[in-house]
Symmetry: C2
Subunit: 383 residues, 2 copies
Amino acid sequence: MNKREFIKYSGLAMGAVVAGTSSVFASSGRQKEKKHAFKGSALKLSFIPFELKLRHAFTIASNSRTTTPVILTMIECDGVRGYGEASLPPYLVENQKSVSDFLSKLNLSQFNDPFLIEDILDYVEGVEPGNHAAKASVDIALNDLRGKMMGQPLYRIFGLNPDKTPDTSFTIGIDTPEVVRQKTMEADIYKVLKVKLGRGTDKEMIETIRSVTDKPLYVDVNQGWTDREQALDMIYWLKERGIVFIEQPMPKERKDDIGWLTQKSPLPVVADEALQGIEDLLPLKGFYSGINIKLMKCGGVSNALKMIRIARAMDMKILVGCMTETSCAVSAAAQLSPLVNWADLDGNLLIGNDVYEGLTVVDGKIVLPDRPGIGIVEKVKVF
Amino acid sequence: MNKREFIKYSGLAMGAVVAGTSSVFASSGRQKEKKHAFKGSALKLSFIPFELKLRHAFTIASNSRTTTPVILTMIECDGVRGYGEASLPPYLVENQKSVSDFLSKLNLSQFNDPFLIEDILDYVEGVEPGNHAAKASVDIALNDLRGKMMGQPLYRIFGLNPDKTPDTSFTIGIDTPEVVRQKTMEADIYKVLKVKLGRGTDKEMIETIRSVTDKPLYVDVNQGWTDREQALDMIYWLKERGIVFIEQPMPKERKDDIGWLTQKSPLPVVADEALQGIEDLLPLKGFYSGINIKLMKCGGVSNALKMIRIARAMDMKILVGCMTETSCAVSAAAQLSPLVNWADLDGNLLIGNDVYEGLTVVDGKIVLPDRPGIGIVEKVKVF
């Protein structure tokens, strides 16, 4: 960053210094010198495909895999770089081609003020419906960029206490008892585990884990149960074994059955597959008692914050989750975690080739980085 | 502000400068030197009662008056001052004594990080229920303070475009045709007027105004209509005369009648008295098509932003309104106005002894100040 830019940003932030004494403003006429909108260089969006390698094959109710494709994004303004990411697990509709196609259609160079995030996201939304992960990759990069340009971490811009992050769960996929036992022991530093169920080995999975640890467990069925009476019996069985909540117990289309289950369930029933973005939230009232917010589903940090505000008004519990993704998208989600009940932000821990360094987990608890924006730095050169 | 403080704030904001090149962080280990939480001086809350003098006696469906009592607040940290206000029109339950009593109970000196706004407001909320205007006076001062300490106007912290502010309406109270005609002509610079109805002279009021101007009108009945069939007839009559929406047509307790009216009304029906804070919002679905958000009702800027997010998800129209208040509270509300459909932010224009300078109105449109926080400066020394 050259000297002119240095002075420019100092000037932007210097308001903090002079604002303390309002007489400075009143007497100096300083406000006339300032401009309403920030005028930077035209925003420049870059993106590259990347393949995440999973440390272990990952199995849930619907599939098993060893890699996850992503698109890494970067938005640049005045030499400052904001980073974003679209994670594209194969069971979702988006893929590297669809994200590349969508991002290629965007003309962000029409904007030279990255602080107009509401306008820019409105524009992006209007280009084409869907493309939630692609939109998230733009939103995350923009939020990172504006945080860096303000010199503030996102949690501070949102007014949140970085010490109030929850523990994150670590996910145990469906596997043989030997592997499950091994993974559970390896997950020693985590204070809570999330267990994938729904492939007919539910009791075996839980009993295997309980043979190793008595820590609290979250259960994610990924729509795997089909009979509501059996589901309710299983939830009672799980409650006696220290399970905290049940995520997406039945197919999302079985709304009435899920509503019946939620009504009778002694544990919170959390929507995941049943929930994409903001527009899906209000109709869940009465059918679920909680929601799983993921940046890749809802389109990014900005929408996730809106959903948290709406879900709180609905008296819903909130889980913030993730896909397998780098420390980029996970650190972005973690910025909001002081506002949620539960966090399942282990996506970066499941991969072996993370290109960023961001949030850390200390004694099972999420620790937000002391850096502006989403708080990440490149471990290897990406852009 | 002395040199040590200057350097401290420069340091806080300097992240903006170095963040551009992530390698600076990665290679310098700079993040280890920084602290998660900002450590400033203990927050110091001051407040003083003040009496606003109205330019004209102001008459609505329920009462008439010439003054409005307020409490002006100030929260100080490290020599930076954030300003707030509680406006206390006599028809509401709060008054200068109740606000003073509530503010006296607060111990804000336990906080030394004004950026932890969510924590601080949770604490304030927990001290005692109700006291919405008192709480707003704390929230506004805190938001002003954190904006100043970041060197950023609130609209930028919220990601909003300051050029997208709406026109503000100017309110015409119930009065004789001569006075109404006079006031309408004096309101020449406003592109839209808000007309108070509900005292039996509705058609006379509208016809008087229409004899002077054909600009769009908002109508506020302040619960003054009692018969729903007559109300619907009146709304059709008003629609033909260029009215944009109808605010609180009937008593808030008459929820079913209002729902019936909203269903059949050719104009949006906006809740005002029926709506206090966030908790009242979801139950309005189906009964009103819009809401009037006022900082004094909902407890401040932070809650108002949450309500905007929730109301949008409900497909509600949004009006941001105010009480008679100084440029302090009005400028705070104006920071959110790029997000709303309509604004009625004329409270400061109705008083003759404003102590602050903040938002301005140019060609009828709200112009946000180019200053950090809520953007006000003292016109006369208050604290």
